[in-house]
Symmetry: D2
Subunit: 163 residues, 4 copies
């Protein structure tokens, strides 16, 4: 059975615009990353949007949810900006309870030298294959249930909310 990989943008896919000196979105780097990882999984990639997660609207989140619900696959990885990843995870948990959904992202754009993106992609694609239905966030080598995680913006890491 295939894994669906939904692209929503985020730091993961940002690039450097050398004419303006700013960061922007062009195309996703996912195909290149899957090739680099010599990934042999049956992965169906769909770019749902390419936005900074701080600018993601409710309608954007609904679009991600709709993609999750309509996908024939039971296992779904969503790449997402880290700043509002938890918020989207909450919506997906309420609206698509029968799928295994793993959200991941990156602290540094893949196109830059020192990105955590490839590590996180390997991690998310692995967790999604073995976890039961439910929504999780795969960051920092760990896997967090959507209702027990927050981003520590001071440290730039995800951490578990004490129960």
């Amino acid at each position: 059975m295939a894994i669906r990989l939904l692209i929503s943008g985020g730091t993961f896919d940002k690039e450097y615009d050398e004419l303006t000196g700013t960061l922007f979105f062009k195309d996703t780097h996912i195909q290149e990353m899957l090739r680099l990882g010599r990934c042999r999984l049956d992965v169906v990639v769909r770019t749902v949007m390419m936005v900074d997660s701080l600018e993601m609207t409710d309608a954007d989140r609904e679009a991600i949810l709709a993609n999750c619900r309509q996908a024939p696959e039971k296992q779904i990885v969503v790449t997402h900006g880290t700043d509002t990843m938890v918020e989207t995870a909450r919506l997906l948990a309420a609206g698509a309870p029968d799928k295994t959904i793993v959200l991941t992202g990156a602290m540094v754009p893949y196109a830059f030298g020192s990105s955590d993106g490839l590590f996180n992609l390997g991690s998310a694609l692995s967790f999604v294959q073995v976890l039961p239905p439910g929504v999780s966030i795969a960051m920092n080598g760990r896997c967090f249930s959507w209702d027990r995680v927050r981003k520590n913006t001071a440290l730039g890491v995800f951490e578990e909310i004490p129960g």
Copy 2:
């Protein structure tokens, strides 16, 4: 509970010797890779050896097994050359049945630009957290049981042995 990470060498950790133009082993790149992946798991790293897996002896494999058995951790990742990874996996399965052990490696050295190492490390560290006791190989984004996998040397990928 911590994860033990045992280093045995393999392509993963090879470097280019600019004086001789050949590949060799110096130190493991694992710490740098964990830092790049912003890994926040409690990982205990031990370098057991640094050898090409084609040159690995029975005594070398026994040393890896001994390290797995003696480790207080229940979850163990072993980095290993791909050529004889399956052989070592078989020995570990026979000798350490109560641990979750995931072997991984790389087709291209981490020190080179186009390595699959970071992807594989993220994958192995994820599988090891959720799988029950047993020995697996994490390569190409997939996870194979030790007794159902072979390396396809013509393609440079791991594949499942039809049951």
Copy 3:
């Protein structure tokens, strides 16, 4: 005789701040670049400032000029943001006519994968060794006299002003 290498910031030395998702200056990457280039020249590095060249003040430019005049070396390379590189070159040409000064920079930060920085540094350090006194800009593999060059901001390249 040594070459003086003055650092003024610019895209060359920008880094990605993973906590804020913005670009910023920390330390110069010049020493790492010289090491990567296996550079065996006698180079004296001085960080004069670390600023975006669009924010460079007249006082900043005077500080660069003062550093050029006071340096005991006759050959000087200045790393500089590309947007106002020509303006600084003009000031140096008026104030330090007896030195060979080559300004260079980068369109993409060195810390990112696809930077032209290392190429440009190799170029600038080479031109400065063989050119007579005067001020030049080394970009795009070419060397332009300060009074015959402009940055084409639409293309992101330096070009000669027709005489």
Copy 4:
């Protein structure tokens, strides 16, 4: 006037064969390097051969010389393995005295992360534009006349022969 860029192989262009774990030649990386360096010089690239310079025959060297002599351009850069670069330089000096020829190479393959190749290419393309006719070697940020240079194989650097 254009610059001719002759490719002869060497460490510069070596790649890692992930099926055999050895280094080999496929295509030159020069076009990618020129693009990375945002090079705007008029450069004509010709691959003369792709060989390790330790395996270069007299006939190979004669072929490089013939290419230098027949080129309409007066400025020529030759990429070359470092081990016998000086030997080829000597032949070119004897046979093509009216051209400005700069040989360069790399200690680490460009395809690997830590290569000096881009720095050296920027350097060679710069020296060739300003030097008078004659044969030089551009390595380590320096430029050596063909008859005053040797490779220090213990240090992996080029150095001047005391006169």
